[in-house]
Amino acid sequence: MDNEQSFIQRAQKGDHDAFAALVDEHQRYIYNLALRVLKDEDEALDLTQETFVRAWAALPNFRGQSQFRTWLYRIVTNLCYNRLPNLRRSLADLGDDVIAEIPETDLTFDNPARGFESRELRSHLHTAIENLDENYRLLISLRYQNELSYEEIANMLNLPLGTVKTGLFRAKEQLRHALETYQEASWIIH
């Protein structure tokens, strides 16, 4: 992290090599977030490049109040909003009426995924994640791939905390429905 701080400071002074190191370090995460939302490799690559170009121009304004990567996520999300005009509205329309607290599941406790054909289940659920709406894919990617807290996501997307929790709750409900459908289909086959 200290190393990253020094790269950021050098890049803020106009050092291209330091900025190239930052691009190398973060591009995979930015690309993945763009890819999850846009579902198009070329567009995701294009957006990743655009994100870093904008980051370079805005680098003097980066004060280190958030992590550098979170700051980049904010830029890429804004670019996604431009590409998908309905995304911002669909996030805001989630509301915050479903649940106040989402209990975190302890994955180490009696993980049935290991006992129940875990590979197929996972694969089926990964497909289900890809088929979720773009607003849910964005929230899931930020929460689980990029491991941001609910507060960080809410702050980054400029949404109420309850909306973020509601969005993730609904996304999981859709995955639960996909899981139940899969189970029913398995019964019929067996």
């Binding site: 870093f52 994955l107 049935p112 996972r122």
Partner: protein, 126 residues
């Protein structure tokens, strides 16, 4: 899949899938593309106050202070004289140079429009 999963087990399976959702490999690096594009952008300059800004701010403050002090300490006779002269000048402008204000307005509008020509040309030639 002999037994249906309980809601708790479903939660675990879903969380497991969410946490193991794989990162996609990048088809190619974007570093060279980014670096090529930022070569054309001037190096970012952080916002900093320089000594010049402080000196200019000091001069402006002194000027405004001196003006305010002078206006408040002028003899009443001089103030009345200035007021009379400014009213006369205003009347003179109204009567004799009526064309000045519209001319200045149109001139300014034409000047500002002309400033956009290089940008519009660049956009058209893209």
């Amino acid at each position: 899949m002999d037994n249906p999963l309980t809601p708790d087990q479903q939660n675990v399976v879903i969380e497991d899938a969410l946490y193991t959702y794989p990162m996609a490999p990048m088809p190619r690096t974007v570093t060279s593309g980014v670096m090529a594009r930022i070569q054309t952008i001037p190096a970012p300059r952080p916002f900093r106050l320089t000594w010049n800004d402080f000196v200019l701010a000091f001069i402006f403050s002194v000027c405004f202070g001196a003006m305010w002090f002078s206006i408040n300490h002028l003899p009443p006779l001089v103030v009345a004289q200035i007021r009379k002269e400014s009213i006369l000048l205003y009347q003179h402008l109204l009567v004799n140079i009526r064309w000045l204000i519209p001319t200045l307005s149109f001139g300014l509008a034409a000047f500002l429009s002309a400033l956009t020509i290089p940008y519009l040309r660049r956009e058209l030639l893209k």
